[in-house]
Amino acid sequence: MTSGTAGDLFDGHRAVVYGYLRRMTGDAALADDLTGEVFVRVVRGLSGYRPQDRERAWVLTIARNVLLDQRKRLRPVLVGLDEADLYAGTGDPQQETRVRLGEALAALDEPEREAFLLREVGGLGYVEIGAATGTTPDAVRSRIFRARQSLRVLLSGELESARRMEWRQDS
């Protein structure tokens, strides 16, 4: 394990765990709570960590299990309402983009949303995502592709803006 202490684990992975949980639940406060629970389990499970596993993949697998356990306890929370309530119509392009991203992700089938987030937020490879979600790398590849195709349609305006931003950075 590259991290020396539980604090290092927390500092190294909390943002990614929170980002994944926030976009899976659509609830920032819930993601906060679940992130804390994830790292409690991480500390408790340190003895079970296998050195051949990548640390990030291991932590995100725990995060996924925390999320599944939470859903067994409670009914699913409506997605995206908190950010939409906060930022809709504010005129702030960045915040409105976040709202639309949240809404677009919420519109995806959950396996596709999860695979996309584990890839783009968690930085996991297809093999790691397959291991975390109990499926094959080929299935992960298909899910991520379908997620991207759907998001291309749902976020066409935002993608146009993102392309322009990248060009400005290059010039």
Binding site: R14, A15, Y18, G19, T35, I144, R148, R152, E166
Partner: protein
């Protein structure tokens, strides 16, 4: 066409792809646009993560700074010096009066009480006067 573009999706993720399938994918009219969109989606997701990370920092309760051995040693040294100074101050009171007296500017009666060179003076005196409770027996 859809399957062809899936190869590009995997390529963007750094996953192994079949070169023959890649050639076919690049021949699709939408291929270039798809590649750019995949990259743009990644940029959106990363920016969303960064903004969420800032929120995590704001929400994270105060955590104490990592303990360093030198901080602990320094704190222990300060405590030791203070304790030694207090002990020495209590030992070396001398005939000129108690240290407490010199520091606090206390009066001599309190100084005598503080000094351990002589028995402490009484702090309370009980006076018994002839009265109803007492009778001289001669």
């Amino acid at each position: 066409m859809t399957d062809d573009l899936e190869v590009l999706s995997a390529l963007v993720d750094g996953e192994p792809v079949d070169p023959v399938a890649l050639v076919a994918a690049l021949a699709v009219p939408d291929a270039a646009r798809a590649l750019v969109d995949f990259a743009a989606l990644r940029a959106l997701a990363r920016r969303d993560l960064d903004e969420g990370q800032a929120a995590v920092v704001d929400r994270t309760p105060w955590r104490p700074a990592p303990r360093s051995w030198w901080r602990v040693a320094a704190a222990a040294a300060v405590l030791a010096v203070v304790a030694l100074a207090g002990y020495s101050a209590g030992r070396f009171t001398g005939g000129s009066g108690a240290v407490a007296d010199r520091l606090a500017g206390a009066d001599t009666e309190e100084a005598a009480v503080a000094s351990d060179a002589a028995p402490p003076r009484p702090t309370r005196v009980l006076r018994f006067e002839l009265g109803t409770e007492w009778k001289r027996i001669s």
